[in-house]
Structures are given as structure tokens and as C-alpha cells.
């Protein structure tokens, strides 16, 4: 009986074990056979981790390879509101606001969101990151990104431009060449352990393609000289805007381009639309007397006038097509050279009447007014130059002296450079070459002669006339000791509401130096300077100050 009972008990235990084993076996079969694909996928998802590898955005350098824009590491702060306790949120609001001054309301709004991830602030400095990390607030963490860094702050702001929060170019060279600067993202597939810690075991890797480096024609030192003098003039003459461009007339390379008002590239969001505008290429204005270089060039090239030819300047009043033309000071008889030197409107109009509208228009076109210069910067405008068929009876007394025509600063610079360069118009450009991270040359922008505007002989004669403007005429304040300067002053009334203003002017000066072998050509324009508003008293001194230092610098750099 006992034996039978023991046998039964043994059988029960044995069967239970077998049953248990069968269950395990079934479960195993279920896992290994039926659920295998799903579980393998789940494991792969847990262990394999894709990381997007950010490329390095290309740097921007000046002509001497001094950095103008580069990338530095930056950390962005984010929060995980769902994982944060009420205490942690309170601490975060108090401490982060104290550190970064973001506003308690802003932080509260962010942290009260029912989300797993919210940005708090992007691209912090390393000092801020270290301070926040030391606070040890649960639910706050950092993501590594890169930040665009402009060591010269506002210097060359309108040429360089800036890249936004996502490292995409938004202005200037940063925008035009964004495609080449940004590079291409890469990726890496790495393994993570069960605790989601990353291991240095790569299963797949495609390296990021870094962006190309851009070397500009701008010279950082010349840019500084230009900006300093422009800023001083801008403040001294209480202008609402100003532009200055310097170019190598023999190559077309832009050595400096400055505008006022300007903005700090590292804090571009603080600048307004007005300060970001590249006035030198997007603003059109009636040039006034600086445009007389076109009339003078046409007269000399067509052989209609010689330097010694005399013109009666009607003692300051001359009637053309029912309109009375004035000179700023009364002149009797002047030679053609003196007409330009003294900037006589009446004398220039009489020269233009000799030439006729078609010739004036032809030379204005040859000097590339009314069309873009083709500079590799964004937003360049054409300006307005009407065809002679659209000219009124008074146009012959307006266009040759720089009215009824609108131009940009870069167009004026192109024109004066053509005279400095013995009559050959060079394409202005700001990018010298592009290279990759290994220093391999990708593209070189070579000086490009667009066309011959006037003959070498005419250019030589015109240079002497323009040197006379500085030596004996309206541009005396641009004179540099021991250097011969050639130039032309301009004072133009602003057109406001279709009428010429009597108290708002543009003051400008265009010129080059030295006359014998021009190293630089320059345009200086002030918008609404006051109380002084003449090109000869407002813009010419700025030209002198910049040209003097730049010529010394260029001589020392050789």
C-alpha cells in the first residue's frame, strides 16, 4: 500500500516536472520560432543607435587668411518636463532665470508643457554650461551643436553676413555660398548597452563632408581703417546712413566695404532691418556731380572737347527748356578742365549739349550705369538710366550732372576704377578663392576685364582733370601729403515725395590714388549729413583719412 502510494507520488512529481519542462519548451519555441523576427527587431532597435554627424561649416577668411567667421562648439540646454518633479521645475526656473535672464514667465511656460523635450536656450557659452551643470537639476540636459563665431564682431558685417541658429546662411557671403559652406551630414551606427550607454563599436559609418573655406578679397586691416573713418564721419556729420567701398582698380578686388548703420554679427538678432541693409549695393540715389565724370569722359573720348576749351558759365544762371539751372557759385568763363574742377553745372550742361543725349547715354551705359556690376553679393540693384527716347526737354541739363538718374555706390566705384585702370572696366568681386579642408583649391575667382570704356589716352587726360579737382577744385580736403589724388565731389538733393528737398542731401566723393599708379579706388557716400552737406567737406576728408592709412599699410605689406 505504502509502496503504491510512493509510486503514485513519484509519478506526480515526475509528471509535474515534465509538464513544467514542456511549458518551457513551448515558450522557447514560441520565442525562438514564432516571435523571433519581432524580438530580434526590438533588440536591434535597443542596441543599434544612429547618430547624425554634423559637418563643420566652412570658415570665411580675409585675403591674408585671417579668420572672419569660424565654428566653435556650443551646447544647447533642453528640458524633459514630463520627467521633472515640481521641486526641480521650481529650482530650474529660479536658477536659470538668475543666470541667463530669460524671464520666469518664459521658463514656466516652457517647463509646464506636457512634453518629453523642450528647448530652453540654444548655443550657450562654455562658462554658462559649466555653471548650469554644477546646479545638478534633474530633467535638464545639453545637446552639443556648433556655433558660428565672428571674431571681428561688426567688421565687414555686410560682406560676411551671418548664419542663423541652424547654421544656415542668412545674409552676405554666408547666404550666397551657403551650399558650399554648409557641407553634408554623415552618420554613424553604434551599439548601446541595456542601459542605453553608448559603446565605441561602430557598425556603420559615413563621415560628414565638411564645408569649403572661403577666402575673401577683403583685407581685415583695410576694412578696419575704412570702418573707423566712416564711423567717425557718420557721427560727426549726424548722417542717417553712409557707405564706403575700396577696390583695387587693376583687379576689381574689393578690399573693404562698410556701411552705417551696422550691426554685430555675433548678435545679429539685435540689429534692425535698416542696419543689416547693404546700402552700398542695394540703395539707389541721384549721384549729383560725381556723375560728371561720365560727361567728361564722353567729351574727351569723342574728341568734341579739349581741356583748354572755354565755356561761359552764365554767371550762375542758365535757362534750359523752361527750367533755370544754377551753379553753387557764380562763374564767368571757365576752361573745360576748370568746369570739372569747380563742378559747374552750367559748364557741364553746355558740354553735354555739344555731345547730345545719345552720346551721354552711350557712355553712361559703357560705364555700366543702369545695370548690375555683377559683384558676388546678394541684392544688387540696377539703378535707373532712361533711354534718350524717354528724356524730357530738361533731361540734357539734368542727367549729365547726375540728376534724373539713380546709381549705387558700387556702380560709382566701378566707373571711377575704370578711369584709374586706364579705361578698362574690371568686374568687382569679393571672393578670391574657395578651398576644401585639406587646402585643395576648389575654385579661384580671377580678375575679369569686362570691357574697355575709354581709351588709355582719354583715361590719362581724365586722371589729370580729376587730379585738378583735388589740387585746385572742390575736392581739396582729400589731398594727401606726398601723394597725388584724383577724385570728384558730389552733392545731391534728396528726392522726397517726388520733390527735391532743400535741406536733405547726399554728400559723396569718388577717387583714386596715387594718380601715377593707382593702388586703390574709393567711394564715400553720406546720407543726410548736417549741418555741413557738401561732398567736398563731408566725404572728401573721410577719403583722405582712409586713403592715407591704406596706402601706408599697402606699402608696408609689400
Amino acid at each position: 500500500m505504502n509502496n503504491q502510494k510512493r509510486h503514485l507520488r513519484f509519478s506526480l512529481v515526475f509528471l509535474s516536472c515534465i509538464f513544467g519542462l514542456v511549458i518551457f519548451a513551448v515558450k522557447l519555441v514560441f520565442i525562438q520560432v514564432f516571435n523571433a523576427a519581432y524580438l530580434a527587431k526590438l533588440a536591434e532597435k535597443q542596441h543599434n543607435y544612429f547618430i547624425e554627424l554634423e559637418p563643420r561649416r566652412g570658415g570665411i577668411y580675409d585675403r591674408k587668411l585671417r579668420p572672419l567667421a569660424l565654428n566653435v562648439a556650443a551646447y544647447s540646454l533642453y528640458a524633459k518636463p514630463r520627467a521633472m518633479t515640481v521641486q526641480a521645475k521650481k529650482k530650474a526656473i529660479k536658477e536659470i532665470d538668475r543666470l541667463l535672464d530669460l524671464g520666469e514667465d518664459f521658463l514656466k511656460k516652457r517647463l509646464d508643457k506636457d512634453k518629453y523635450f523642450v528647448w530652453i536656450v540654444r548655443k550657450l557659452t562654455s562658462a554658462d554650461v559649466a555653471t548650469i551643470k554644477a546646479l545638478k537639476i534633474d530633467g535638464l540636459d545639453f545637446v552639443k551643436e556648433s556655433r558660428r563665431y565672428y571674431p571681428n564682431q561688426s567688421l565687414g558685417a555686410h560682406v560676411i553676413g551671418f548664419a542663423g541658429m541652424d547654421n544656415r546662411g542668412l545674409e552676405g557671403v554666408e547666404l550666397i555660398y551657403d551650399h558650399y559652406l554648409k557641407g553634408e551630414f554623415g552618420w554613424s551606427q553604434i551599439i548601446r548597452d541595456a542601459r542605453h550607454r553608448e559603446l565605441l563599436i561602430e557598425k556603420g559609418f559615413i563621415p560628414p563632408k565638411n564645408g569649403f573655406d572661403f577666402i575673401l578679397t577683403i583685407d581685415e586691416t583695410i576694412q578696419f581703417i575704412a570702418e573707423r573713418a566712416l564711423e567717425e564721419g557718420f557721427r560727426q556729420h549726424h548722417a542717417i546712413g553712409a557707405s564706403l567701398i575700396i577696390m583695387d582698380p587693376k583687379t576689381g578686388e574689393i578690399l573693404a566695404l562698410a556701411n552705417r548703420p551696422t550691426y554685430d554679427l555675433s548678435h545679429f538678432s539685435e540689429g534692425n532691418q535698416d542696419s543689416r541693409r547693404n546700402r552700398a549695393i542695394v540703395d539707389m540715389y541721384e549721384p549729383g556731380s560725381v556723375f560728371k565724370i561720365v560727361t567728361a569722359a564722353a567729351a574727351l573720348e569723342d574728341g568734341k572737347v579739349k581741356e583748354s576749351d572755354k565755356f561761359f558759365c552764365e554767371n550762375g544762371e542758365y535757362k534750359v527748356g523752361g527750367h533755370i539751372l544754377h551753379d553753387h557759385s557764380k562763374h564767368g568763363t571757365l576752361t573745360f578742365k576748370e568746369v570739372i574742377e569747380q563742378s559747374s553745372n552750367i559748364g557741364t550742361t553746355k558740354v553735354a549739349q555739344l555731345l547730345g543725349p545719345v552720346t551721354v547715354y552711350k557712355y553712361a551705359k559703357l560705364f555700366r550705369f543702369g545695370m548690375p556690376t555683377g559683384i558676388n553679393l546678394i541684392g544688387e540693384v540696377n539703378g535707373v538710366l532712361r533711354h534718350p527716347s524717354q528724356w524730357s526737354k530738361t533731361s540734357i541739363a539734368a542727367i549729365p550732372i547726375g540728376h534724373e538718374v539713380t546709381v549705387t555706390a558700387i556702380q560709382l566705384l566701378g566707373a571711377i576704377s575704370a578711369i584709374a585702370n586706364d579705361g578698362v572696366y574690371m568686374q568687382p568681386f569679393v571672393v578670391k578663392y574657395i578651398k576644401d579642408q585639406e587646402g585643395e583649391l576648389i575654385k579661384e575667382f580671377k580678375p575679369q576685364a569686362i570691357s574697355r570704356v575709354i581709351s588709355g589716352e582719354t583715361a590719362r587726360r581724365l586722371k589729370e582733370i580729376l587730379a585738378g579737382v583735388v589740387e585746385n577744385g572742390t575736392g581739396k580736403l582729400s589731398k594727401i601729403p606726398n601723394v597725388r589724388v584724383a577724385g570728384k565731389t558730389g552733392t545731391a538733393q534728396k528726392v522726397l515725395g517726388g520733390q527735391y528737398s532743400h535741406n536733405k542731401f547726399y554728400a559723396s566723393f569718388i577717387g583714386f590714388a596715387p594718380v601715377e599708379d593707382p593702388q586703390i579706388a574709393m567711394v564715400v557716400i553720406f546720407d543726410e549729413p548736417h549741418p555741413s552737406y557738401y561732398g567736398g567737406t563731408v566725404a572728401a576728408p573721410v577719403f583722405k583719412r582712409v586713403a592715407e592709412d591704406v596706402l601706408k599699410y599697402l606699402a608696408a605689406s609689400k
Binding site: 585671417r66 579668420p67 569660424l70 566653435v72 562648439a73 562654455s126 552639443k144 563665431y149 571674431p151 571681428n152 564682431q153 561688426s154 567688421l155 551599439i191 548597452d193 550607454r197 553608448e198 559603446l199 565605441l200 563599436i201 581685415e220 586691416t221 576694412q223 578696419f224 573707423r228 579642408q437 606726398n482 592715407e548 592709412d549 601706408k552 599699410y553 606699402a555 608696408a556
Partner: protein, 129 residues
């Protein structure tokens, strides 16, 4: 006899399995160490970037210009007519021939015993791009 053979096979199998496990453990240990070192390198590179950007800021024309050429500063660009060019004599050139001056690089001294017992190559500092 059969049992003996069975134990031998089992032992071999166990040793191989343990060796495999040990290798796997080492691989993962190295992977953790690698990740730690990568973090360290990243931090150093970030610090290097910060230092570099500070250097760029300090040596930028904007910074130097504002410091050196402040308003009413007597400093100005040097005019060429104020530069005095000196020509050295032939004997001075012969005595201090610039082109033939070479920088003496100290030869690497290697310890024979260390090189025998070490499987590692000598550490060399490589500049990080």
C-alpha cells in the same frame, strides 16, 4: 575510458567558451574605455576651440585697432619715408649666415630594455586638425 574522453572534450569546450567570453568582455570593456576617452577628447577639443576663438578675438583687427588706435591716440600707420633700411656688410652675413642656420633637433633616445619588453610603439603627439 569513455568517461575520461568525455571529460577531456568537456574541459576543452569549457575552456574555449570561457576564452570566448573573456574576449567579448574585453571588447566591451575597451568599448566603454574608448567612449570615456572619446568624451575626454571631445572636451579637450571644445576647450581648444574656446581658446582658439578667444585668441582670434584678441588678435582681430577690430580688437587690436580699438585698443591701439583709440581716439586721439598718437599711434598711426608708419609712413614709408620714415622707414630706414639698413644693409648689412658682407662680413656680417658670412658670420651669421641666416640661410644655413638650422634648428638642432634632439635625437630620440630609446631605452633598449623598454623597447624589448614593450609591444607598444612610442607615444607621439600628433596635432589634431
Amino acid at each position: 575510458m569513455k568517461l575520461k574522453k568525455f571529460f577531456a572534450v568537456m574541459s576543452l569546450g569549457t575552456i574555449l567558451a570561457l576564452a570566448y567570453i573573456q574576449l567579448q568582455v574585453q571588447i566591451f570593456d575597451l568599448a566603454y574605455q574608448g567612449k570615456f576617452k572619446e568624451k575626454l577628447i571631445t572636451k579637450l577639443m571644445d576647450d581648444n576651440g574656446d581658446v582658439q576663438s578667444n585668441i582670434c578675438l584678441l588678435q582681430s583687427s577690430n580688437h587690436l585697432g580699438l585698443r591701439l588706435l583709440v581716439e586721439n591716440s598718437p599711434m598711426q600707420f608708419l609712413s614709408q619715408d620714415r622707414v630706414v633700411k639698413l644693409t648689412t656688410t658682407q662680413s656680417f652675413d658670412n658670420f651669421h649666415p641666416v640661410s644655413t642656420r638650422t634648428v638642432q633637433v634632439a635625437e630620440k633616445k630609446t631605452n633598449f630594455l623598454v623597447s624589448i619588453f614593450s609591444v607598444k610603439s612610442q607615444a607621439e603627439a600628433v596635432p589634431i586638425r
